[in-house]
Symmetry: C2
Subunit: 352 residues, 2 copies
């Protein structure tokens, strides 16, 4: 718990005086007040986080955390577990969806193995942070021990430390890969919220009606069996979570520790962010939510986090794809704040 | 009418065989089918328009059409008319909102004077296409003659011709500037749809309750006075439109003539696009709508055009700002289609 405790203590609040100055500048720009919608509050939050008006998000990294899930034995996913490891190679080779969209956003993709059920060569250029080769089947036993839950979160914090130390980091994005991982994500949301599982559970990669009913039943029975304590995020993560979800939580906490804005992706990344913010509420000050997934349950987390998703493009892929697209909007918002001239600067009378 | 008629006759259909091939490739990419949401159909439309799978939107231009409106005499806007000309200079100097967001999107901004109530030096680097120094006050008389309506549309077509001839053009964005121009835009929507004016009319730059009631009354009375014929787009444009709105319609028709994708901005640009598509329905095949404005009435046009807005960021600025942001998503969609590997290419079994 040392790494986690130290990170929790290191989190500072963003500069709220800078936030106020940013809002004032936005209101005085030569355009109707508020006319750039959500770009305005986003740019002000980034200014407060970075402590300056001219925020530059030059070094952007998306960390895609991969892990496997014992619960796939219950038939909750359309794809076989082997695909998790195959996709890790696809990410590394640059042909995956996140590779393409991160490149477009000017971000680097780094893959982290938190718990893939495969042996990767030590030379493979990924973060090697395997806690175990897949979680246990939480339909029958807790997904992981409490120590493993802490280890997965601390691995995420370690990764941010390493990125900062390596080449510096201006913005972090989070993404996931793990066959079956919408199941633990929906279970986590249900555990924290008490909302009926059937209202929170979607089709993941595209399962049919029967498989969806089975998935709901598996989650309901697991929650009844393990009774995760919603006031104890580590209990929720260990009983019905996943290693990559712990890693995703750690990324959010690590970014907050270093004062770096972090944008989470879809259902699984947001479940990780939710675990982070339930455990360390101050981390939320650095968190942005990229998009509204079509997965049921995603919207609930945005409500609970009191953060509005930036995009609504009908995505349901994960990997960090939504985070990559949202980074382009966040980047644009920094230009809005610093580059649009004020009425005074251009000599036009302000009607507002 | 010669330029307009020639453009109408020159419009070809996009390559629907390429569209089918694009959809097939998207369905075979190593990710769940449909998981990239709206990026998928957008990329397929662009492939069909460009006639290739690897679409490159290298040369992007946003044309911001400016014009003044006699109807401002009725007190429909918060800002004085002089601001239209002042903003033209602000665009040219690169400090305006559209200057900043277009730069971020890798697009060039070109300003076009369709009818600003000011004399610009002939050396000012804008398209000099002034039809007249502002429309007439349509509360009392038609905004323009039918010949002027045609002239404003043909000016827009001319601009696209010039851009294509100059350095080539891969994607066009449209934007507007004109104090008072949400009033003719709302009038145009009401004229085409028959929907009550009060349901279609918003606060523009931010007018209060009394001014909003006045704006609604002005539009209602103008429609009652002029009785524009919804089956005759030139009648609607000439009676309650604006010169920049005609120019914006011409840009859409001109882009379609050259087989170039065109993305329209907010309320006013979409009103121009609607005039274009009512007049020349085949132009719609090349049209993309960038975002959902907070202005009442905007959503109606998307319904009528049967096109879904790409973004919903709470924008209500115009100038082409939403078009610039949407260009980044459209650009990303082209990378999705061409760069994400298929299951076969990466050697993963497709579960779909």
């Amino acid at each position: 718990m040392k790494i986690l405790n130290e990170a929790m203590e290191a989190i500072k609040s963003p500069d709220m005086e800078m936030h106020a100055r940013a809002l004032e500048r936005l209101a005085n720009q030569a355009r109707p007040a508020g006319s750039l919608g959500v770009l305005e509050p986003l740019s002000a939050r980034l200014a407060a986080i970075k402590g300056c008006m001219d925020v530059r998000l030059d070094r952007k990294v998306i960390v895609t955390c991969a892990g496997d899930h014992g619960v796939v034995a219950e038939g909750v996913s359309l794809f076989p577990q082997e695909v998790t490891a195959q996709m890790v190679y696809n990410f590394v080779n640059g042909g995956a969806s996140i590779s393409v969209l991160a490149r477009h956003a000017g971000a680097e993709v780094r893959v982290a193995d938190l718990g893939v059920n495969a042996d990767f060569d030590a030379d493979l250029p990924i973060f090697h942070k395997k806690v175990a080769k897949g979680t246990r089947n939480f339909a029958k036993e807790p997904a992981m021990t409490r120590d493993q839950a802490v280890a997965s979160i601390e691995a995420g914090i370690d990764i941010v430390d390493a990125l900062v130390k390596d080449k510096g980091l201006d913005m972090l994005g989070t993404g996931d890969m793990g066959i079956g991982n919408t199941t633990p994500s929906s279970a986590i949301i249900a555990a924290f919220s008490g909302i009926p599982v059937e209202n929170l559970t979607g089709r993941g990669t595209g399962i049919g009606d029967d498989a969806l009913r089975n998935k709901i039943r598996v989650i309901e029975e697991a929650l009844a069996l393990h009774q995760p304590d919603p006031a104890d995020a580590l209990d929720v993560l260990s009983k019905v979570g996943g290693f990559e979800i712990g890693g995703l939580a750690g990324l959010v906490i690590g970014a907050a520790k270093h004062g770096i804005p972090v944008v989470c992706d879809g259902l699984i990344s947001t479940a990780g962010a939710l675990v982070a913010c339930e455990l360390v509420p101050s981390a939320k000050q650095y968190l942005f939510v990229s998009h509204k997934s079509v997965e049921a349950g995603h919207a609930y987390m945005h409500d609970r986090l009191k953060l509005s998703p930036i995009l609504d493009l009908g995505l349901r892929l994960g990997e960090g794809t939504g985070a990559a697209l949202a980074m382009e909007i966040l980047d644009a918002s920094t230009r809005v704040l610093s580059e649009i001239k004020t009425f005074e600067e251009v000599g036009i009378h302000n009607a507002n």
